[in-house]
Amino acid sequence: MPAPIRLRELIRTIRTARTQAEEREMIQKECAAIRSSFREEDNTYRCRNVAKLLYMHMLGYPAHFGQLECLKLIASQKFTDKRIGYLGAMLLLDERQDVHLLMTNCIKNDLNHSTQYVQGLALCTLGCMGSSEMCRDLAGEVEKLLKTSNSYLRKKAALCAVHVIRKVPELMEMFLPATKNLLSEKNHGVLHTSVVLLTEMCERSPDMLAHFRKLVPQLVRILKNLIMSGYSPEHDVSGISDPFLQVRILRLLRILGKGDDDSSEAMNDILAQVATNTETSKNVGNAILYETVLTIMDIKSESGLRVLAINILGRFLLNNDKNIRYVALTSLLKTVQTDHNAVQRHRSTIVDCLKDLDVSIKRLRAMELSFALVNGNNIRGMMKELLYFLDSCDPEFKADCASGVFLAAEKYAPSKRWHIDTIMRVLTTAGSYVRDDSVPNLIQLITNSVEMHAYTVQRLYKALLDDISQQPLVQVASWCIGEYGDLLLSGQCEEEEPIQVTEDEVLDVLEGLLVSNLSTPVTRGYSLTAIMKLSTRFSSVNRIKKVVSIYGSSIDVELQQRAVEYNALFKKYDHMRPALLERMPIMEKTASNGPTEIVQTNGETEPSVVEPKHPPPVNQPASQGNDLLDLLGGNDVPVIQTTMPTKPASAGGELLDLLGDLSLGGPAPAPAPPAPASQPPFLLDGLSSQPLFNDIAAAGEAAYNKNGLKIDFTFERANPNPNVAVITIHASNSTEADMTDFVFQAAVPKTFQLQLLSPSSNVVPALNQGTVTQVIRVLNQQKQQLRMRIKLTYTHKGSAVQDLAEVNNFPPQSWQ
């Protein structure tokens, strides 16, 4: 068989291929030749063949059949073989391969080889890709070599030790003795790798860190020598001596000085020296300055030094070199929390970076930093810049920027008008990028700015006339028009020229949203609800009725359901309509309300939760008058009782009565657990109008027992969440007649959340022939005593029975 072609020959040949297919063909041919050569166990050309294989591997072709050959090369006596063998191992034999471990013995032997270059090859391979097992097996050899006087080997052993420690941290201890005089070396390679080794150990172990703190003076000395020393041709980079070593020492000093006064003080002078004397004209000097700044900021440096550091960053920001500006912004972002005032001084430069052409990184960093620097004093100016940035930035940043603007505006808005204007600006310029959760947040904000209602609705209306493609804007606008449409008509706006608009025009706009292709289903929902609300504010009720009835047969189930229910409102419950569709009360924010969190809904995206007056449409069978006001809804639907924002005591006491016997006439919307302003611990305390209040403190777990109906409670803890108590009620009937249409409802104090699942049935059979069970889940995060008010309704012997009771003798295990 002729000798396999040489490596360079192959490379030349493959490069002449004009198409991918031609190249593939050549490679397949050569691979076949190589494979047969391997099969023949040819020692002479193995090296050449593996080298060719490595080339083909780099082109992207599979080379796994060469793995074992690499092992054979490593085991060979010839240096040429070993060199290629180890290279092949590093490229083809990482720890995921089965045969990886087979290298261990060869490496072990080579670590003890007489030729340092062979030892070097073994150390390199182990130190680049040795697996944990290999590291465990060979750590001892590495440790031995760490103590050798041969600096070529010592530096390699040091980095090999670093790899061993990364793979098997427990082995760190065994390298400790060998580190004793690593820093007294003159050889820069050994010094550098030793500093890396020490850094790795200090990062991983606080004990090591404490142990190595004593090296600070020595490190400072070495650094000083590097700075002061004359020109050294082999280490010089643009006039700076061994910047790599300098930076690593600075990094180690950072770790050693952090949180330690003495160490920080010991390095103070050298840091100041480096910070002031380093040449900044070239990248290398700035690299050192950068590391110095990071160190100064992390250790307990004196304030003068910190100011110096921030000023260096400030100067970086003005540097022409984009890399340096980028690095400065990143570092400033890290320090803005701790050294806020110092960073503020550079605010204008930072804001200018928003306009920088380097789109991806710098503008993003500048944006983050700008948001971090916004405060009550600079809000107007900063917001102007940030809104301008929002207009012109890449779409990928718009969502973050918009959220940032909302947050900042919320925190620092100088006036309500300014706040609303800012929001409008964001919605109109970046409306489609605004996050979904900001819609309910904005609605809440608008509701609470009572004096701005007219202005807001007017501006939103005008925005809608311009553009209906941006869904968040459209949603907020339709909600507002629904709420405040009357203000729109009456032209009450004080802030700006009131708009002249007719009812029909407004309804045109809203109906336009319903039919537009640009509107999402959610938006259509908003718009339909808004039209409905206008039925109590506008006089064109007939037009509204028509629209609503059309959508009663809409394909969109959501829309259809709403329309059907609103229709029902027109037909059967017209007397309740004004009450239901009344103006929303001011919503107070709950303490935990952040921009991303608004109360759980029943899976609805529309803010049915934000509209406590509207029981979520899903739960509005409207079968019994009482139930409309009762957010626990019908039997079949699981209900989550949400922690609603509290309602001010503007309504009378009866309004807040969830389960009480209310008169249906007047405005009596009853949001789920509202509380009177004084916020008693239990919902209905302090209210006198409580007929039929059954104060049975049931012994044991029989919670209720009256008129033949007995309700027992059993408890267990929900598995994933220990704060949730799962209560099962068992209703039994000892009378001779069945109890039909049995409905069990419950309410709990505000600090709890309650979820009622479907009952097993709504007929409680007579004579204890069976029980109806229903599961209640109570979330009791504050671990308070559980109390519950229950309401039972059923039909017995032809007449409807209704009863209220309070259960407050839950066993402690149920709520602890």
């Binding site: 002479t44 240096f79 890709m129 390699k156 790899h163 984009k322 789109v359 991806s360």
Partner: protein
């Protein structure tokens, strides 16, 4: 530590790949693809840094070759630029006015030089002369064809 070092041409052809973390072949291919795409797509006059997953990517173009390095959070990007430059200098010294073809036809030597300069993702030797010196000395240990044939393999 450096997670990987890649060299690729302006057409996206890989010329060198060094990995300091264990990745499967598929993952490596993905990284290479992502790197070549991101770096080659960069408009002119932008910084040499970009963010990719949780790594900082530092790249620099020398003639027709892109040198691309993946760094961890704590690493100094400006120093990485110096490191890349040092490697190019080392190649230049060894090959004498190095160009892409040298690296194509002598890729194994490029690896040998790299392995004397970096190990385990860290810089091994900071002296300009020591790296080249070691490689050249090791070269002398490589057997000539006659020596190779006459020496027993095992």
């Amino acid at each position: 530590m450096i997670n990987f070092l890649l060299l690729f041409s302006r057409q996206g052809k890989l010329r060198l790949q060094k990995w300091f973390t264990p990745l499967s072949e598929r993952e490596k291919k993905k990284v290479i693809r992502d790197m070549t795409m991101s770096v080659l797509a960069r408009p002119p006059r932008t910084s040499n840094f970009l963010q990719w997953r949780d790594l900082k990517i530092v790249y620099k173009r020398y003639a027709s070759l892109y040198f691309c390095v993946g760094l961890e959070e704590k690493d100094n990007e400006l120093l990485a630029l110096e490191m890349i430059h040092r490697y190019v200098e080392l190649l230049d010294k060894y090959f004498g006015n190095v160009c892409e073809l040298d690296i194509i036809f002598n890729f194994e030597k490029a690896y040998f030089i790299l392995d004397e300069f970096l190990m385990g993702g860290e810089i091994l030797e900071t002296s300009k002369f020591a790296v080249g010196g070691s490689v050249e000395e090791a070269d002398t240990l490589q057997e000539t064809m006659e020596e190779y044939m006459s020496k027993p393999a095992y």
